[in-house]
């Protein structure tokens, strides 16, 4: 058997395993996917909104946060102006006159992690909610997250992020599908105690535990991944509520998207290296979360290189044959060259692809992404699986390059 066939078979087996794993988690926990525990008490919560040059969205975010369905006497909202150079501060000042429980922490620019840490210092809440300044929590979302904290070991609970600007263009639409599928997968991982990231748009933390683990790390570009891993490494629990929704604005264009994803990748790599000593130790974190995230990166890069090699080789051969044929008056293509016998092994790919389409449609139906299945949505899903996921490892290459160069700029 050729080496390339062996690589293909290994990749297919891993894909089959992961697919079976998620399908089984779905089947076994279907009734509990959207459920959440009712809180035994009303927790005092401080919502922290770090903002840097967010004049376009900050007002809407604050309005959403202020109007959350949560007892007002138990809710404190602190907007941290991280040295914005636009009108962000003015907008917050204007809103402070309107809402008495809204506070402003104005400071020099020092990054998101430091802003959050400074916010925690003055926060009075038992729980800390972090809301990105371009995100908009749904009315009930915060309430649905609090019940998890009745578990004394619970360190952080995250929400389900949707894309607010999904109708802007095709690219945003594809990302909205991605967010739904990622959210779903994150919820499934919750059933095996492996929520590995508490997202920036809306996550709730137990203040005491965050302080105990040293707060948000200033040296990482994704403080949300780091704090989650830090809590897990300290044996605290993380969870996810699929019914607590928050919408966010995603990049509409390739360049900002690429920058954002590179940062996420870079943050992931920083976290892997920071916690590498816990590999295969420390309960589910070391036994599953760390290997799962690390191998996902490695596998996606191998799959990308593997398919690129095959495609590039075939493409170059065709180019050479064409140039030689033209130069020497040989036929470019002849009937006998057409092979109508596809490799049997391709069936693994076809089966996985078909099952993924069915499963993803099931997810979108359960999430109530859109009212009905349309040809357009089907096309978007196919595009997401075949094109988007195939080229995504390019982001990883850039992240790895920047990580190797220690270039940790945002």
């Amino acid at each position: 058997m050729e080496a390339i066939t062996v690589i293909y078979l290994v990749l297919m087996f891993i894909a089959l395993y992961m697919f079976s794993f998620f399908i089984m988690l779905t089947i076994r926990n279907r009734k509990e996917l959207f459920s959440y525990p009712q809180p035994k008490k009303i927790y005092s919560i401080t919502i922290l909104i770090p903002a840097y040059n967010e004049e376009e969205s900050i007002e809407d975010t604050i309005e959403h946060v202020i109007n959350l369905d949560y007892p007002k006497n138990k809710l404190e909202v602190i907007v941290i102006n991280d040295g914005s150079r636009d009108k962000t501060k003015n907008i917050i000042e204007k809103l402070r006159k309107k809402y008495s429980n809204l506070k402003l922490l104005d400071k020099e620019n020092s990054g998101k992690a430091d802003s959050l840490n400074q916010g925690i210092k003055i926060a009075r809440g038992e729980l800390i909610a972090v809301v990105d300044s371009d995100s908009f929590p749904s009315k009930e979302s915060l309430k649905k997250l609090t019940g998890y904290f009745d578990d004394e070991k619970m360190g952080a609970v995250t929400s389900f992020v949707t894309v607010r600007n999904k109708d802007n263009n095709f690219f945003a639409k594809i990302q909205s599908l991605e967010y739904v599928l990622l959210g779903w997968a994150r919820k499934l991982l919750d059933f095996v105690d492996s929520v590995y990231v508490t997202n920036g748009p809306l996550s709730l933390y137990r203040k005491k535990f965050v302080e105990e683990v040293g707060g948000f790390d200033r040296n990482t570009v994704t403080e949300d991944i780091d704090i989650t891993w830090n809590l897990l490494a300290h044996d605290y629990k993380t969870a996810m509520c699929l019914d607590a929704k928050v919408s966010t604005i995603t990049p509409n264009k390739i360049k900002p998207w690429f920058r954002q994803r590179t940062r996420w990748g870079l943050g992931g790599l920083q976290a892997i290296f920071k916690y590498k000593k816990m590999f295969l130790r420390k309960g589910m974190f070391g036994a599953f979360v760390l290997p799962f995230v690390s191998f996902s990166i490695i596998i996606s890069i191998i799959a990308f290189l593997f398919s690129s090699y095959i495609l590039l080789r075939s493409f170059l051969t065709r180019i050479l044959v064409t140039s030689y044929s033209v130069a020497n008056q040989a036929p470019l293509i002849i009937l006998q060259n057409i092979n109508l016998h596809p490799p049997v092994l391709l069936f693994y790919l076809i089966i996985l692809f078909s099952c993924s389409i069915v499963y993803y449609n099931f997810i979108l139906y359960e999430i109530e992404y859109e009212e009905k299945l349309t040809v357009k949505r089907f096309f978007n899903l196919v595009f997401y699986i075949i094109i988007y996921l195939s080229i995504y490892p390019i982001v990883w290459f850039n992240s790895i390059y920047r990580f190797a160069k220690k270039d940790y700029r945002w």
């Binding site: 058997m1 076994r28 044959v321 020497n328 040989a330 036929p331 049997v344 092994l345």
Partner: protein
């Protein structure tokens, strides 16, 4: 974590293993059935070449039967050409079993037998027939060589289409380990591959000379 969820890790592994092995078994079975199909053709072709050679031996030197021999040789060459082409396509698609390689070697042997019998018959016959032997590498080759082989192959198929009754086209892979081919190659000095060898005289080793092939045909 619920106990049921804890077991999902190994349960998913069992499911993946079952699906994976089922796929491998079905794939191997399917690939074998493709090769078996060609193998049936091969046995018929093998019988025919032995018959052709035996008849040639019995009637050795009798020039009255030349036309018949040549016509049968062309038909036979065409037949095994298309059978081997089908085999090559199956081989391109077959990734699990190695059966196609040994069958390919057998087809190469048939072609060498045909080449040798054509050389013998041409000595005794007045009727003109052109043997165009194309030697190439069967195994994975560097991109450039692969492209050159593909171009030569396309050119020869086109040539054969144009001169159906005048050419016996015999493509033979040089790297399947056939001893008799190595002997023939050393007799005719065919070290370079790919090479097109016309009427046991002219060698075309580069693409630049492709257009001159027709000058060597009788």
């Amino acid at each position: 974590m619920a106990l049921g969820n804890k077991h999902i890790f190994w349960q998913a592994l069992i499911i993946a293993l079952v699906v994976f092995w089922t796929g491998l078994l079905l794939g191997t079975y399917f690939e074998r059935s493709r090769i078996d199909q060609i193998q049936k053709f091969y046995f018929d072709s093998e019988t025919e070449i032995f018959d052709l050679n035996l008849a040639s031996d019995i009637l050795g030197g009798v020039t009255d039967n030349c036309d018949l021999f040549i016509a049968r040789s062309i038909n036979f060459a065409d037949r095994i050409y298309f059978e081997a082409l089908k085999l090559e396509k199956y081989d391109d698609s077959n990734k699990l079993s190695e059966d196609a390689v040994s069958l390919h070697k057998r087809y190469d042997l048939l072609r060498i037998l045909l080449w040798k019998s054509t050389i013998d018959n041409k000595r005794n016959c007045v009727t003109k027939i052109n043997t165009v032997v194309y030697l190439y590498d069967y195994a994975d080759t560097p991109l450039n060589k692969k492209a050159i082989q593909q171009t030569m192959s396309n050119f020869l198929i086109n040539l054969k289409e144009e001169h159906k009754e005048k050419i016996i086209l015999i493509p033979i892979a040089v790297d399947t380990g056939v001893e008799s081919l190595d002997v023939l190659r050393s007799i005719y000095g065919l070290e370079e591959v790919p090479v097109i060898f016309i009427n046991e005289e002219a060698k075309i080793e580069s693409l630049d000379s492709l257009q001159s092939i027709e000058n060597f045909l009788e």
